[in-house]
Symmetry: C2
Subunit: 432 residues, 2 copies
Amino acid sequence: MRSFLDVPADSPFPIQNLPYGVFSRDDGSDPAIGVRIGDQVLDLAVLEERGLLDAALKGVRVFNQPTLNAFMARGRLVWQAVRARLQDLLSAEGDPALREDDELRDVALVSVAAVTMHLPAAIGDYTDFYSSRQHATNVGTMFRGPEKALMPNWLHLPVGYHGRASSVLISGTDIVRPKGQQKPEDAPPLFGPSKLLDIELELGFFVGPGNDIGTPITMAEAPDHIFGFVLVNDWSARDIQKWEYVPLGPFLGKNFATSISPWVVPYDALAPFRIEGEPQTPEAGNPEPLPYLRQDEPRSLDLTLDVLLDSAAMREANTEPARVARSNACYLYWSPEQQLVHHTVNGCNARPGDLMASGTISGETPDSYGSFLELTWRGSKPITLPSGEERKFLQDGDRVVLTGHADSEDADGPYRVGFGEVEGVVRPARGG
Amino acid sequence: MRSFLDVPADSPFPIQNLPYGVFSRDDGSDPAIGVRIGDQVLDLAVLEERGLLDAALKGVRVFNQPTLNAFMARGRLVWQAVRARLQDLLSAEGDPALREDDELRDVALVSVAAVTMHLPAAIGDYTDFYSSRQHATNVGTMFRGPEKALMPNWLHLPVGYHGRASSVLISGTDIVRPKGQQKPEDAPPLFGPSKLLDIELELGFFVGPGNDIGTPITMAEAPDHIFGFVLVNDWSARDIQKWEYVPLGPFLGKNFATSISPWVVPYDALAPFRIEGEPQTPEAGNPEPLPYLRQDEPRSLDLTLDVLLDSAAMREANTEPARVARSNACYLYWSPEQQLVHHTVNGCNARPGDLMASGTISGETPDSYGSFLELTWRGSKPITLPSGEERKFLQDGDRVVLTGHADSEDADGPYRVGFGEVEGVVRPARGG
């Protein structure tokens, strides 16, 4: 399939993707919902207003809004109808209603250079899982030793915890270095800027229709409740986290900032990239999950995920960001569907717009780890940047960019589906 | 001070209290905001509509709404002005605008028997602390032994974690027994209804004006950001919790339900009950908190808190609920102000309507513990109910009621300020 619009060959936003986002035009108009195609945004509020989406939406208006929550709540049949309709309107051979209407194209299409992106949803609750086996093993090895690296529960359930919804930030928001309590080895706790500021490379998803409290979402129902995916950078202050986290889990070491990419890639756009996951079978040396958590294959996703870094000095010298890690979503042991099913199995209610993230995604080799904690092995193996600077953890002025993509092809040739970027620059702690 | 309205002598809702809540009349009208006085609700949307609150509210309308968030956001000077105005309108000697207007009283006052209460706010984020020393010591003793009962961080910072906002429920909502994974001692994990369903007796507060991300709330500013208090029952499934909680903290063992009382007692209404807290000084054997956490005395609250229980059989026999514990808010080591200041010291942003709870409040004697886990010491010391039934943890049909109050007096005699109740009945797990 090809669009009538110009889409650069390496763009992660071809007609096969069509991710949703909330944007406002730089002329000051109110935020609305659009899909990205190439370097343009298609304004869905305009298409909706002109009646071009009436059949797909069954007449319910959802796009002239500052969040995707109402559309997320409509469910998978509506998402699929809208997606098919948009592909028809954007394709080189489909419905000419947009393609052959100069005035409409002029109003409905806007360059990404002329818009500001906003959070895609009002996030009711944000949950962070811990679903990469290598990450859990790495962290466990560092903190408890190799024998007790993986806790006894880890292979039986997707371990997760509640994050902070208020501090989920759209890509591009500066990250102020947090202050907090830290505990030196043989001295009383002290207060000051975190010295061990880190990132976590994660894949997140937004919940579509919710469930009533007391009524779990089953594995068969899970795909109807997952709207789409974003990249997540779960900024982490390791020194604050280490002192506070026993016994109730991470808190101030995490909740100062969590950044997400602005374009929500539809669940169905990732279908071509589904692959078999690590077998959850005794034959493979793993316990079989309890029945409620069993999922048919393919349950995994083959998505390349990169961590890029540039320092202030590198940007000054126009040096390209350095790729410090390349990971892949296939390293997740627990799938998004398993995460959602587990989350609601006790009757906990999810709501449209809830965000659930995977936890740090680390592969098996040291260049595929999704955090500096692991990449530098607690700072014992610093990374050297192209500028000659060394990094154990993040310094003020550092910019971290996470990207993700997957390649496929159809009858018209190869194409790439991607997330774009989630990025943020570390700013100095306030007040010294 | 006395109201011109009839307020029973032992009512926890005299003119000195005036808690806020969201109610709807049984005639089907939209939810609005009211204050409770005695056994009546004063409809603030009506007073606002008639212009009687214009000066206090500076003309901004906030009460004809289904949540208190807008009023919470207005800040303490407005809260104090509205509170003073309402006391003037309700007092026996103040402004006669309500007292002497039969028609207005008829429209603005409604019996609590003729209203349904709703959640007082749209809760953006819910945080649960762990601020009772005896509770932390009890739980630590059971799980780690008496030597390691209190973790090294506990006396240096208010330990807390993020809870689930979606499942915060208004008092009176049934609690469906959760299902989940449990791990028998020498067998693989199994799935089924929780056998160790418990409560936690807590005091919660709603955040007023929020803070910008990156800008902490200081101790001096904290009272301006605390709108008021409710009782919280943090229902807990101990078997689910025990298997899942290492290393990231409680999750499905908690997020199936958290119940709160409907009436938000204003911060200023509790001023008469402030008392000195446990000294946070080396002389008292405690470490002095880091400067950002230091608070002038009195920082504690003398509020009697009761846990009542009746079984289905007791209700059938018209037996009064049994009081199974009497605790007090004075057993909190970390105050609400310290909790809020700590929560934001890393730059985390709070928003109007956020809920923060204290954690289980347990006193020093076994009859003052705020959970069945502690009251029955993990089930080893069952409680005998008036019906002769024994309880280690909660059975289906059990109803738990938490109440709280404090007594004081002024020139007109003694009065009681209280929260009313937060109650819930345990229903059987769905699907057997």
